[in-house]
Symmetry: C2
Subunit: 236 residues, 2 copies
């Protein structure tokens, strides 16, 4: 099966959680919008005129005739197919539940720099962004990552779900990467509180296909258009 | 099967999307935290000391030994069991995808009154709330509800998914109810743009078990602690 991933071509964003799973599994996929004519193809699906089930927004995945949108839903679908999730219903749902909590966290990370609205420039919501980031770093970050640290530990410390690495582990790698990019000063201190997640991050980075991907041109660099953005004034 | 629902006792909040499905299906369930000792029982699960898979936050559902958290995940699980979702994989995932988009919308609704942080009072983030609400009413509300209006229409206008009513329809009923409570002045004008969703809302309200539920004491009133809150200054 050749998967077709549709996502904004210039950023890691939410698409990166899907890319990491496809790359780690060595799956056959096309990153459509990064190819010629890809943006127009993506727009067609969003306009929804010729699609029975139009996605609300990227990322979405085409697998044969099926179109799946919403990052966590895409991973739920791919998980067992890429051997990156348990196969039994309870295990699959637990992995999905964790991924949905990661989605919530990712939205809160985005809103640190855009608390008023995504349509406005950062410069137009600077003061609010500073206050929201303060609240985020002080209360939300420890709450979310403290939760995942406990979940990891309760599962033995090697993986979050079951005995084999799952897309949840890959996504937590990406969260640590992104947080380091966006809040380097704060993370330097904070990482001491989540030793299990940092060790997990390092193990994921060493997985052979992930390592090859990170060193390839397929891995876009972080930048100031994505979810994780670096603004010195927001970094604690 | 007697389901046990765990959610904050004083508000409709996210728990209401699950309550509506359970009520419409005539399912046997206990709203645990509203009973004696219920809050302590709920807290035990969140603390996670004796639970293999602790939820990050309410709502969560106990079904036999299984604990499912995250509103959309709970509905994904309950859907086919309550006959409120298609049974085939593609149909189930499409319903879930729509529900995840409703979850995103609900979070944005919440953040209109709490753009800086949930821990702070509304009064401490009033100016930011006014700006965020403006952005929300002007751009996000039409984008989200316009999308669901199109989805509904493309499916024939009676239901959003398949031929029978699903939890997605019940959730859209709740979204309309909540928006009417939180932004009455704005909704009065805006509803003309979503005639299909308003008709769907009215059909759901007339379903016999939903109607009985809405008239019962089990249905909590909207209030200023939930997701949908009325602040005159935010209403356009």
């Amino acid at each position: 099966m050749r998967y077709r991933l549709y996502y904004w071509p210039g950023i890691q964003g939410r698409g990166e959680f899907v890319r990491l799973a496809l790359e780690d599994a060595g799956a056959d996929y096309v990153d459509v919008a990064r190819g010629k004519g890809g943006m127009a193809a993506m727009q067609k699906f969003i306009d929804g005129k010729r699609v029975a089930h139009p996605p609300f927004a990227p990322p979405f995945l085409k697998a044969g005739k099926l179109i799946v949108a919403q990052t966590a839903n895409i991973l739920f679908y791919l998980g067992p197919r890429l051997k990156l999730a348990p196969r039994d219903e309870a295990g699959r749902m637990w992995a999905h539940q964790l991924q949905l909590t990661i989605s919530d966290f990712v939205l809160e990370i985005h809103d640190t720099h855009h608390p008023i609205g995504g349509r406005l420039y950062f410069e137009d919501q600077r003061a609010a962004a500073r206050r929201r980031s303060q609240e985020f770093l002080r209360y939300r970050l420890p709450k979310f990552l403290g939760y995942f640290e406990r979940v990891l530990k309760a599962n033995g410390g090697n993986t979050c779900v079951g005995r084999r690495p799952s897309y949840v582990d890959l996504s937590l790698f990406q969260v640590v990467e992104g947080m380091r990019y966006a809040f380097p000063k704060h993370m330097k201190r904070f990482e001491k509180k989540i030793p299990g997640l940092i060790a997990l991050h390092d193990r994921v980075a060493k997985r052979s296909r992930v390592k090859a991907y990170l060193n390839s041109r397929r891995r876009l660099p972080f930048n100031e258009w994505g979810i994780f953005r670096y603004y010195k004034e927001l970094d604690g």
